[in-house]
């Protein structure tokens, strides 16, 4: 029976009431009395030298308060990068400066070089049109391989070249991997693209800076997944404001998906300008600006090779990846293609030898950073595509090949540093095979064929790493932050309590699920628990929400703090019942003494804590408030098996997803309804990547997909009803108190290879036996092209007769590919 409250219950979300009645309080809903508005002037060329900026006409326009340029930010810090990757020679990555407003050069379309502050938004917009910038256009580097060519134009003149780093992992394994390939009975290789995406949370970014001269303090309201991180990065590294003089508030946030983790120039601008002008300054991004200023995601080009022995055991894996960093290093950008990607290349398999090489490249494009999954979708896509191709080449069942190579004993030390604590990959595959009626597929294919359609089935596994992360470990790997989480539980005299959590909810429903956990631990109604987040003035400390870490890390901190509360409350209860503390039990909101009829209610204990008339004052302090910091000792490893069924129209190349099933193991589940919702959303983003979405630049660096007219956001009719199951095969995490693993990204990680595997399967069934791969997104144009003689994803190994004319060409120029 499903539970009706507490851990395991599908409690309805309390936050829904305000969102459904128009009472949500998003950043753009915040207006500070006397605020001015800023509009940024952004580069319309990909690369250019700023010869001069004439602001005089703009300054004379109605309502204009001041026009800022890069010169106003000399002496102000650079937007910092939070992770330093060390290359394969032991040298630190190249790390360019990132000024708040461009100085000297503009480096991507959308790079802000001036900012107009005026009394109204319309006046600021009008005056921004009157700013005269003299910018000499320079040759731009967009294609990553061009950017690394000898003598290529440099994005940053003060760096050696456009190579951020050349990373090898595990470098010591390189020769052993090469030897395993020499000895392999079979080698399968594949070149592929992980297409550049734009996260596109429905709420565009907003920043409101405010300054109080009476106490010299600054406040920033911003659309962030982690306000404390912004306080630290912006306060300490950019503006030189101590944390005790800076408050950052991230109220209701309309989706994040990674792109609202990072510290952005506009946040620093509004905070800086508010202090300079001694008036609040507000910026609201347009969607067009969001496309050219929100950090993008993915954009990898990879060659992957899998070595197998004569019994089809995987013996070694080798990859070479080019990862686009864009023009500047966004907050966590260097970690995504390295530590969040290379460490997952063993996948669900006991491949003993793995070598991953990643070259991170600067180009004249928008910075690229974490987007839902961040590194793990890229790892899963290449691995699950190459395994599928190997099965096809060897003529074996793709599920059987996977099962044969699954890790089955835990804990399992991978050859890529991480240790999987627990899992059951056959278990989720069993669940999946039941969900999809695999035996009935042949009949369904026949039925499709009778209607002139090709039907394909794609199945794959995935594993990912969540709950980032042990601070000492990430410190060794280059993180410039600790990745613990904190929680404070403040119990009030009348028994209700407030949890102040450093996790941030921007759609995940923490206000409901976190309350379920604490209410369950104490045995009080969920409505007695209030969850507070998103404000550095109300929450003592926090590292925020990303990497599916909120429940695994933030929830664990909350559990630890609640345990401290219960321990203290038991002491008070023991005093009230004149019993030994060790004999006191807490159940259903009542303390009792084992073997007696003595009991005292939760509310009586909390009242005693604040009205300590009858209280052990000699032993413990009054009050009932506890804080805990939780630093995990490993990542968590959600895993599962996904299946996609497609129909392809051979006349047009159009792909329809007719069924999609996901069997996930997230360990224990607190709120099944919310977990299913997270999977649904992830699937939509993963299927969107596979079929629809592509952030395209032309060869001059013009961003071609900068609106919803040009960037194909998935719509309701692009999907079938999903089948999801995260209840039937669960292996609880062994190292956090809730046994939870994280569910926020799995859908986006596991689903792209399912779709591509399915389309390849469909085409193969239709006699297109030379089609082994098609680069995402699998638009009708590309699929039709694959069926009609275009290159089919074999890249340089098997170029099409006229690659430049096809959508498969891995270079820019036709505007349909990502930046490689």
């Amino acid at each position: 029976m499903p539970k009706d409250m507490g851990i395991g219950a599908s409690s309805k979300r309390r936050e829904d009431v305000r969102f459904l009645t128009g009472k949500g309080r998003y950043t753009d809903d915040i207006n500070v009395a006397g605020q001015a508005h800023v509009v940024f002037c952004r580069s319309d060329v990909a690369h250019g030298r700023i010869e001069g900026i004439d602001t005089s006409a703009a300054e004379g326009m109605p309502g204009v308060i001041r026009v800022f340029t890069g010169a106003d930010f000399e002496g102000v810090g650079s937007i910092p990068c939070g992770w330093q990757v060390t290359d394969k020679h032991g040298e630190p990555m190249q790390e360019p400066a990132h000024p708040v407003l461009a100085q000297g050069k503009v480096r991507h379309v959308g790079d802000p070089y001036a900012a107009v502050v005026a009394e109204t938004k319309a006046q600021a917009r009008d005056a921004a049109e009157a700013v005269e910038a003299s910018i000499t256009e320079l040759p731009a580097v967009i294609n990553m391989k061009d950017a690394l060519a000898e003598g290529a134009t440099k994005v940053h003149d003060d760096l050696r070249d456009n190579l951020c780093y050349d990373w090898g992992f595990v470098e010591e394994n390189k020769d052993a991997v090469a030897k395993a390939f020499d000895e392999a009975a079979h080698v399968t290789s594949l070149e592929l693209v992980n297409n550049r995406l734009v996260a596109n949370p429905m709420e565009p970014r907003v920043a409101v800076g405010d300054y109080a001269s009476h106490d010299d303090s600054s406040t920033l309201y911003t659309t962030s997944q982690n306000p404390h991180v912004i306080r630290l990065l912006m306060g300490a590294f950019v503006l030189g404001i101590p944390e005790h003089k800076l408050r950052v508030v991230a109220p209701d946030v309309g989706g994040g998906f990674g792109t609202k983790i990072f510290h952005y120039a506009e946040e620093a601008f509004c905070t800086f300008a508010a202090k300079q002008l001694e008036m609040p300054v507000k910026w609201t991004s347009t969607r067009g600006e969001a496309f050219m200023s929100d950090a993008h995601g993915r954009d990898h080009v990879t060659k992957i090779e899998l070595a197998l022995d004569a019994e089809n055991n995987f013996t070694a894996l080798r990859t070479e990846t080019y990862a686009n960093m864009g023009a500047y290093l966004s907050t966590f950008a260097p970690s995504v293609p390295t530590w969040l990607h290379g460490t997952l290349m063993a996948g669900n398999y006991k491949t003993p030898l793995v070598y991953v090489n990643v070259k991170a490249v600067f180009t004249n494009t928008v910075p690229v950073d974490a987007y839902r999954g961040a590194g793990r979708p890229e790892a899963t896509f290449q691995l699950e595509r190459v395994v599928d191709k190997a099965a096809r080449e060897l003529g074996v069942d793709p599920v059987a090949l996977r099962r044969q190579n699954f890790v089955t004993e835990f804990p399992y030390q991978t050859p890529v540093a991480v240790e999987y604590d627990t899992g059951d990959y056959n278990g989720t595959m069993d669940v999946l095979e039941k969900m999809i009626d695999r035996d009935g597929f042949a009949a369904r294919r026949k039925e499709s064929e009778a209607r002139g359609k090709l039907r394909g089935l794609g199945i794959n596994s995935y594993i990912e790493a969540c709950g980032i992360a042990p601070s000492n470990l990430v410190g060794q790997l280059g993180a410039r932050a600790g990745l613990y989480e904190s929680a404070t539980v403040r119990v009030n005299a009348t028994g209700g309590l407030v949890v102040m959590t450093g996790s941030h909810s921007h759609g995940q429903g923490h206000e409901t699920s976190f309350a379920q956990v604490v209410a369950d631990m104490i045995g009080i109604p969920e409505d007695q628990v209030e969850i507070v987040h998103g404000d550095t003035a109300r929450v003592p400390m926090g590292m925020g929400t990303y990497g599916s870490r909120s429940l695994a890390v933030g929830g664990s901190a909350m559990v630890r703090a609640t345990e401290k509360i219960i321990a203290k409350a038991k002491k008070i209860a023991a005093h009230l019942m004149e019993a030994d503390e060790g004999d006191v039990e807490l159940k259903d909101g009542k303390f009792s003494v084992a073997g007696t009829d003595k009991d005292v209610a939760w509310g009586d204990v909390t009242l005693a804590a604040y009205v300590p008339h009858n209280y052990p004052l000699e032993d413990i302090e009054p009050g009932l408030e506890e804080t805990a910091f939780y630093d995990p000792n490993n990542f968590t490893y959600p895993a599962g098996a996904y299946a996609c069924e497609v129909e392809v129209d051979p006349e047009t190349g159009k792909v329809d997803v007719v069924a999609f099933a996901a069997a996930d193991d997230f360990g224990n589940v607190v709120n099944p309804m919310i977990v299913e919702g997270q999977v649904h959303g992830g699937l939509a983003q993963g299927i969107g990547q596979a079929l629809l979405e592509n952030c395209a630049y032309d060869e001059d660096g013009q961003l071609l997909s900068a609106s919803y007219m040009d960037y194909a956001m998935p719509r309701a009719f692009d999907f079938p009803m999903f089948q999801v199951d995260s209840q039937s095969s669960q292996t609880p995490c062994t190292h956090n108190p809730l046994g939870v693993k994280g569910c926020g990204e799995a859908g986006a990680i596991g689903s792209p290879p399912s779709v591509v595997n399915a389309v390849v399967d469909a085409l193969q069934s239709g006699g297109f036996t030379d089609v082994y791969h098609i680069d995402m997104p699998l638009t009708p144009d590309r699929v039709w092209g694959a069926m009609n003689g275009s290159a089919t994803g074999q890249g340089a190994a098997q170029p099409a007769a006229n690659a430049d004319d096809t959508t498969q060409a891995r270079s820019v120029g036709d505007g349909t590919t990502a930046t490689h």
Partner: protein, 161 residues
Amino acid sequence: MTVTTMTVNGKSRSAPTEGRTLLVDFLREGLRLTGTHVGCDTSQCGACLVHVDGQPAKACTVLAQECEGAEVTTIEGMANADGSLGKIQQAFQDYHGLQCGFCTPGMVMAAASLLKENPRPSEQEVRHYLEGNICRCTGYHNIVKAIMAASGQQVEAVAAE
């Protein structure tokens, strides 16, 4: 500046406008009804959907002065008279049809228009009607369920499949 007056959620409301003031800015900035959201510049996302004289309209693409004297309904006007959630709103909560909540006002307003035109839509009719409303969180799965349930049709419970 002119003063523009319309009936919003049953009450006569006025605010100053310029010729270029959009209906969405009149609502959000003039009347401080911030439930109607702006998610794009090109009339695709539907976060700003309201009803003008009973018809769905994207408030980012309508000039406020065009609506002089009109009857406008926003998300703030969709609850029952006693303040409880209306039928569609309640179905969205019951079926977890929202996550971050940003697209939700537009989704609810679109659903209301759909059910007025077509009281018992099929799943495919719901999906196609929502072409002009983008959600990035839910994968639409539970939005479709919520709208089907609000139309009185049998829908599987959430988290029980």
